[in-house]
């Protein structure tokens, strides 16, 4: 146990205390890593099934450039798809809210579009857009807009009709009511969807890379798999997890700053 702890002490993730506010989760993370390390060692789990965290860390440190390049590429694809998907999601929610006929006509199509497995869709996207960053961003976009639309509509429907009447009695037109009432009121719901969409967009980007590319976390994952490089697979998983948590953290941080009033209506 003490040996495992000393190994964990050498891990790069052990650099605690840099952000006062996030010390606690980091301590827990380190504890979890140490625990996994201990379990792997104590139970003699073969590295084929689960390499020791220290091995995973040293795999990353062996070729940090490859992981950083992959991280950056996948990050760009994800963010592009996420931002575009979120904007499109909100715009479609506004359109569906404003024109009920359009909602009745097209909203079912939206839902159906999400039942097509993204893998099946991915091949077509790569055919259309080639092996470009854009192609992956499109897959991210495709996979992330629906929760945004659905939740924004949910937020709109939760607006108190008396509030709308009050705005009308002030002589407000539809655009003013949308900007001053519906959109802010939907923010709490919207952020729930954005957190979900940020994770989905990452999935979209990684899956998109499987259809062919030269850099990216998805590519690293495939390469490691073909080479039966188990430590490499796990290293990519860890980097992807960091990216996912980072994106989620940014959205959650924005949520705390923007939706300071919580769900109170």
């Amino acid at each position: 146990m003490s040996g495992a702890a000393s190994v964990a002490g050498n891990l790069p993730v052990a650099s605690t205390g840099r952000f006062g506010a996030v010390v606690k989760p980091i301590v827990w993370l380190v504890a979890a890593v140490v625990l996994v390390e201990a379990i792997v060692v104590v139970f003699g789990i073969r590295s084929y099934y689960l390499p020791r965290p220290s091995v995973i860390a040293s795999t990353i440190m062996a070729t940090p450039g490859a992981y950083l390049a992959g991280l950056w590429r996948t990050f760009l694809e994800t963010v592009l798809g996420f931002v575009a998907g979120s904007l499109f999601g909100v715009v479609m929610a506004v359109v569906f809210h404003r024109w009920v006929l359009l909602r009745e006509m097209f909203f079912p199509l939206f839902v159906v579009s999400q039942t097509i497995p993204v893998i099946a869709f991915g091949a077509v996207v790569v055919l259309w857009f080639g092996n470009t960053l854009l192609a992956k961003a499109v897959i991210s976009f495709y996979i992330s807009f629906l929760p945004v639309t659905v939740n924004t509509l949910l937020g709109f429907s939760a607006v108190d009709p008396r509030q709308v009447q009050l705005m009308r009695s002030f002589g407000a037109d539809d655009a003013q009511i949308l900007r001053r009432l519906y959109l802010p009121a939907a923010l709490p719901q919207l952020f729930v969807a954005l957190k979900l969409a940020s994770s989905l967009a990452l999935v979209g980007a990684i899956v998109g890379e499987w259809f062919g590319d030269t850099t990216g976390l998805g590519v690293l994952l495939l390469q490691a798999m073909y080479n039966e490089n188990v430590a490499g697979i796990w290293a990519t998983i860890v980097v992807s997890a960091c990216l996912g948590m980072g994106l989620y953290g940014v959205v959650a941080f924005a949520e705390r700053r923007i939706v300071f009033w919580g769900g109170e209506q």
Binding site: R162, Q163, Q165, M167, S169
Partner: protein, 302 residues
């Protein structure tokens, strides 16, 4: 239904002397004067006649007649479900009465939707926006009108002390007590300067002590700003204490059952509620309301 015409509160509205239905009123200038439509010169700010409203099988209002003169504070009481809120929604321009009605604003016949944006309306709940602080909630209507934010905020800042909100401008609604939230909502209504203010049980959700404080405060503010107010309430004391006239509505379908002038001198002190005149008024009104409540109770029980 005869209007009680003998009483007119001379301290406001600029209509000097007694307003007698026939007598021409001299020197009365309504800004943005509209052509005279009929001979009646003591022109009500707003006049409703033969107002009915049916929702499916339910007749909420039937042949309701109300007329409000400029500067008056008219209170409306009635049993619950008597269509008070429907009346308010019509006056706020949110609902159209059944066809065949007469609705005149400053003597010009109008539809209810013409009233949209012409009446400042305060619903029962404060309906403050949780993401706006006190000052920005108060200026909501001004913003909708297109006034620049900085200017609107300046106007509102000047009004804060009067509404007992000085120093609270940057607070958010969830940091305020019920009474303060209600004052913010009232301030929003006051800042939306319109000829008619509609207040729908604004103090209904407050505790008794806060409510009396708010009533006295409202009278102060009203006398200073000289606004025409229609005030809905459940509370007979409140109706008498505040009003120039009290309208009692019948059980559904709502009509005006009784129109009672309140001749108590202003400014009214808190202890006026124990004066014999007040008690006598209360007795008359309570009897009328009681009768209607029993009626609606029996209808419900059948």
């Amino acid at each position: 239904m005869t209007l009680v015409e003998g009483y007119f509160h001379g301290a406001h509205a600029g209509a000097g002397g007694l307003a007698n239905g026939r007598a021409p009123t001299r020197g009365k200038v309504v800004p943005g004067t509209v052509p005279e439509q009929d001979a009646a010169d003591e022109r009500p700010l707003i006049e409703l006649r033969q107002i009915s409203k049916t929702f499916g099988a339910v007749k909420a209002l039937q042949d309701l007649e109300v007329s409000i003169r400029p500067g008056e504070l008219v209170t409306v009481v009635g049993p619950s479900g008597c269509g008070k809120s429907t009346l308010f929604n019509i006056l706020a321009g949110l609902e159209e009465p059944d066809p065949g009605n007469i609705l005149r604003l400053k003597g010009v016949s109008s539809t209810a939707s013409d009233l949209l944006g012409k009446v400042s309306f305060m619903p029962q709940r404060d309906l403050l926006l949780p993401w706006r602080n006190v000052i920005d909630n108060a200026i909501l209507a001004l913003e909708v009108e297109g006034m620049p934010r900085a200017e609107a905020r300046r106007l509102a800042m000047d009004m804060l002390p009067e509404f007992g909100l000085a120093g609270f401008e940057a607070q958010y609604p969830n940091q305020l007590s019920g009474g303060m939230r209600q004052r913010v909502a009232l301030m929003r209504t006051f800042l939306f300067k319109r000829d008619l203010m509609l207040l729908d049980e604004p103090f209904g959700a407050l505790d008794a002590l806060t409510r009396t404080m708010m009533q006295r405060w409202l009278l102060d503010v009203w006398q200073k700003h000289k606004r025409t107010v229609l005030f809905i309430t459940h509370d007979v004391d409140e109706a008498i204490f505040l009003g120039d006239r009290v309208l009692v509505m019948t059980a559904r379908p709502g009509r005006i059952k009784l129109e009672q002038a309140v001749d108590l001198p202003r400014p009214r002190k808190a202890d006026i509620v124990t004066s014999p005149e007040f008690i006598a008024l209360k007795k008359t009104l309570l009897e009328a309301i009681e009768e209607e409540s029993m009626k609606s109770f029996q209808v419900a029980g059948r």
